[in-house]
């Protein structure tokens, strides 16, 4: 940047001031973001919170001049006396990296796979600093130390030789190599495990404070934003619906969407009666540009909400909301919120005797490239009649391997699995009758509803196949399909549709209907909501709860999310490195963790209180991971 621009900015003047930013596709003129305003002071952190389709990532790209071809941003984004949205590619080069830096979501794809980490850092340093080779290397090592990597050999390693958390640290170091004034972090921790997520966010906060850097954190997770940011901006279908200081927004949301998001997230510290789900799914910005973007899903929506775009009105000190009905519904919203905070105490019942699934001392060893990896190490679990059991653990803990062994996709290396009285160490050795019986006993709902349905076939076809495979008797198959669809909250008309015309939540409903087709006694749910938008997660969790109580079936919930097991299970197993480190009734395990690892997991769940990101053990842990 040229030195003859403006004098140094005072702290009360924003470093970045965005006004009426509109992002649209040039070919069809469809808006992606209809209007975004933002004021970022030096050293401040702002969270832009939104689900997929909100336009949050496009906003980030617009602010660093990297919008994809065919997408343009209009409006003003004033930075250092110039409007960023009108800069040429040449002018952008003096801004990117030096003034505004960015890190992205996926540490696994962000770093060039064929370059050593040292080179990535060295090339990111300011080019006009003429450094010798040795000096550059020393600088790279110093930069790694800043992000908590003290192992100097990392400069010689390729990205694929590092863990996700380490890669994200290297990426942060690279993004900061030219010492930008503003860092845009686009979902920096979403692809990481809970423990690593906390470490990375803590690291970003620490560096931010040390450098006096401003931060724009883009996230789908309100809790993360509350814990990390001073101010929050909630973006929905391309327009801001609410802004305010983090604590204010958390305590009393002033827009039905923000409140809906808060309520649909199961709290980690207590169990609630039922999650308040937002119906439907996120519309596209183009479809709602002439009305309140949330009207179609809002329980309080009236004609006035669909009659033009409501203004983003000031509703308090540094507080804005786009809800026109706020004065009328504010009190009702507050009541709903306080009601949802009541804790439900689940009576601690003794576990029933009838074990549907009994896993005894099971073991699974994988061989790869001459190394043996013990994925599951001497694990015993049981699922009783009518019970919901949770298995919680991070990636690599072995939880999914257990699910795969239960449904016969893997064979255990040792130990015994008994399902409904039938020993099933090897599915291949089973008689066809036993196998059919087992398939009717156990059904699975997978994580990714996008790839678990055949895109070429209609929903009706998929359900019919599931029904007739297990029940050759025939009968009224069409009627059964309609019944199944209704039981998961979809109309019978969905039978004619193909997966591509369904939203993620709808697909997961179909996947659940398909699992229910054979009337199973146990449903294994492997991360059933982690691929879904936050506002849709609650719908699916409620649906699973309903299905369970109505049909009296057992559930095995496999997830990385402690809040979900708290909400959805009565008995809990905590897994770490292939072993069960703790088990017991969910409430008592989560309220009084006996194992150190369980405590660490609990500690990693985002919470607004200041100490969540307080560092300390986080960095030492990073050094031992790797």
């Amino acid at each position: 940047m040229s030195p003859h621009t403006e004098p140094t900015l005072t702290s009360d003047r924003p470093v970045l001031e965005v006004e009426g930013m509109r992002i649209e596709r040039t070919d069809i003129g469809a808006p992606i973001v209809t209007s975004l305003d933002l004021q970022l002071a030096a050293g401040e952190s702002i969270g832009i919170v939104g689900e997929s389709g909100s336009g949050k990532s496009m906003s980030a790209k617009a602010l660093i001049g990297l919008l994809p071809e065919g997408v343009v941003a209009n409006g003003t984004a004033r930075f250092d006396g110039q409007n960023l949205l009108g800069l040429s590619e040449r002018q952008w080069r003096s801004i990117r990296g030096r003034q505004i830096g960015m890190i992205m979501q996926d540490p696994f794809t962000m770093l060039n796979p064929v370059m050593r980490c040292g080179r990535i850092l060295e090339e990111s340093l300011l080019p006009e600093r003429r450094l010798s080779r040795a000096e550059r290397r020393a600088e790279a090592i110093r930069r790694l130390a800043e992000v908590g990597i003290t192992d100097e050999s990392v400069v010689e390693r390729y990205p694929f030789q590092l863990s996700g958390g380490m890669r994200q640290r290297v990426a942060i170091a690279a993004a900061l190599a030219r010492d930008p004034k503003i860092l845009i972090a686009d979902e920096p921790s979403t692809a990481l495990d809970v423990v690593t997520q906390r470490e990375v966010l803590a690291l970003i906060k620490r560096i931010q404070a040390a450098r006096g850097m401003a931060l724009i954190l883009i996230t789908h997770d309100l809790r993360v934003a509350f814990a990390t940011c001073d101010r929050i901006q909630v973006l929905y279908a391309g327009s801001l619906v609410e802004t305010g200081r983090a604590d204010d927004v958390r305590e009393l949301p002033q827009h039905p969407y923000t409140q809906g998001l808060l309520l649909s997230e199961p709290p980690a510290d207590r169990r609630v009666r039922q999650l308040v789900a937002i119906p439907g799914s996120v519309p596209s910005a183009a479809d709602v540009q002439d009305r309140c973007s949330f009207a179609s899903r809002c329980r309080w929506a009236e004609d006035v909400c669909r009659d033009g775009v409501p203004p983003l009105a000031e509703v308090g000190d540094d507080r804005h909301s786009r809800c026109v009905r706020l004065p009328e519904i504010g009190a009702e919203m507050a009541t709903l919120l306080s009601k949802s905070e009541e804790r439900v105490v689940v009576p601690a019942e003794a576990r029933s005797d009838g074990a549907l699934i009994d896993v005894v001392n099971i073991e699974k060893v994988f061989e790869s490239g001459g190394r043996t990896v013990t994925a599951v190490d001497d694990v015993s679990i049981s699922v009783r009649e009518g019970e919901s059991v949770g298995i919680v653990g991070e990636s690599g803990s072995g939880k999914t391997t257990i699910a795969r062994m239960l449904v016969g996709l893997e064979s255990p290396s040792g130990g015994e699995i008994v399902i409904d009285g039938i020993p099933v160490r090897s599915w291949r050795a089973l008689s066809p009758r036993d196998r059919r019986k087992l398939r009717q006993t156990v059904q699975t709902v997978f994580q990714d509803p996008y790839s678990s349905l055949n895109p070429m076939r209609t929903i009706g076809w998929a359900l019919k196949e599931a029904i007739t495979t297990h029940d050759r008797g025939g009968g009224n198959v069409e009627g059964r399909v309609a019944e199944l669809l209704e039981s998961v909250g979809l109309s019978a008309g969905y039978a004619q549709r193909r997966p591509s015309s369904l939203s993620g939540g709808e697909r997961q409903r179909v996947a659940i209907a398909r699992a229910l087709a054979v009337e199973p006694r146990v449903l294994i749910c492997d991360e059933p909501v982690s691929a879904l938008d936050m506002s849709v997660q609650a719908q699916i969790l409620n649906l699973l709860q309903e299905v369970r109580t109505e049909r009296g079936i057992s559930c095995l919930f496999i997830t990385h999310d402690l809040s979900i097991v708290r909400h959805a299970s009565e008995y809990l197993y905590v897994m770490h490195h292939g072993k069960v480190v703790e088990s017991g009734p969910t409430e008592s395990v989560l309220d009084n963790p006996a194992d150190e690892y369980t405590a660490q997991l609990l500690n990693s769940v985002p919470r607004p209180e200041g100490q969540w990101l307080a560092t300390g053990d986080a960095d030492e842990m990073a050094a031992t991971r790797g």
Binding site: I95, M104, T109, E123, F160, A174, A175
Partner: protein, 321 residues
């Protein structure tokens, strides 16, 4: 890593080569006995079977020995490049091949270099000008080149640049490096264009895929210049899949140039192969089959080594964290 692991890989591949050639040599040797008529008929190659000639061939090829002894003796000769005499010209097979090896190798390498240049450069340009006029023009041109067989291309080039605008010779292979370069330009072009068109499309797709990757955007977000991002990121990563497909090309150009050799009267290995097949010239077929097999394995080995050199993920396979 480790030079040792690379040497180990080369070693393994060379052992595989030896095994492959051993099996192939047996099959190739058996041809003589599988062919219609007796082994003597095969070696006669249509010449009148005078008792003296039969006697001579029987002695030369040990035809009175048991089958496996014959094979063993044949193999011992083959190891010192003695495959016998061509039944057509009665000259030693190795000499016949030797005369044609030079020009064929020259043509193959020349065509290979042209293919890489004419395929990769426009492929990258097309990807950078995606959906613009230049891109569409290049892709359309590639479709035309892809659907024109090399001998048609050869005749077309011959007419354009040797008859209409006579800047290149119409026939012959030339002496010395530059003379050969001048003589073989049109044949090499004719050979290269079709394959280059395929490579263009492959490079374009690979480049478009790489340009869309997160690491490209992240590099630009750090303020690296577009040129730096192109060279250090896009080209290198986009060429990894290109290198893998280019491996088999060299051997293909070497043995598959028969139409072009005929069009430009070059008299190369391809022509020899067709000729020996037509005249059932057994010793020649045996020698050529083994030569081509060795070339295919070696050029694939070269491509794999190049792959290892440019993609570290291969080097660390199975050892990553």
């Amino acid at each position: 890593m480790t030079g040792r692991a690379i040497l180990l890989m080369i070693g393994k591949r060379l052992v595989a080569l030896v095994v492959l050639v051993a099996i192939l040599s047996f099959l190739v040797f058996s041809l003589v006995h599988i062919a219609p008529g007796t082994a003597v008929d095969a070696y006669l190659g249509g010449k009148p079977a005078t008792p003296e000639l039969v006697q001579l061939l029987t002695e030369r090829y040990h035809l009175d020995e048991p089958f496996f002894t014959q094979y063993w003796l044949w193999l011992k000769d083959a190891l010192v490049f003695d495959f016998g005499e061509s039944t057509l010209t009665t000259l030693p097979v190795t000499d016949e091949i030797g005369i044609r090896l030079g020009p064929s190798a020259f043509l193959a390498v020349y065509a290979y270099v042209l293919t890489m240049i004419l395929g990769v450069v426009p492929g990258i340009i097309a990807a950078l000008r995606q959906r613009k006029l230049l891109d569409r023009g290049l892709v359309a041109g590639a479709v035309v080149a892809l659907s024109t067989p090399p001998f048609v291309m050869g005749i077309l080039l011959l007419y354009l640049f040797a008859v209409l605008v006579p800047i290149f010779p119409a026939a012959g292979r030339g002496e010395g490096f530059f003379d050969q370069l001048w003589h073989l330009t049109l044949p090499a072009l004719a050979l290269a264009l079709c394959v280059a068109a395929f490579l263009l499309r492959h490079t374009r797709a690979s480049m478009i895929n790489v340009l869309d990757q997160d690491y490209i955007m992240f590099a630009r977000a750090r303020g690296l210049s577009w040129g730096h991002v192109l060279v250090r990121y896009a080209f290198r990563n986009a060429l990894i899949p290109v290198v893998t497909v280019s491996g088999a090309l060299l051997a293909f150009f070497f043995a598959g140039a028969v139409f072009v050799e005929a069009t430009f009267s070059l008299g190369g290995i391809g022509e020899l192969l067709v000729q020996s097949a037509q005249t059932s010239d057994m010793p020649m077929i045996q020698a050529l089959a083994i030569l081509i097999a060795v070339l295919i394995v070696l050029s694939n080995l070269l491509a794999d080594l190049a792959y290892v050199a440019i993609d570290p993920r291969i080097r660390f396979e199975g050892r990553s964290a």
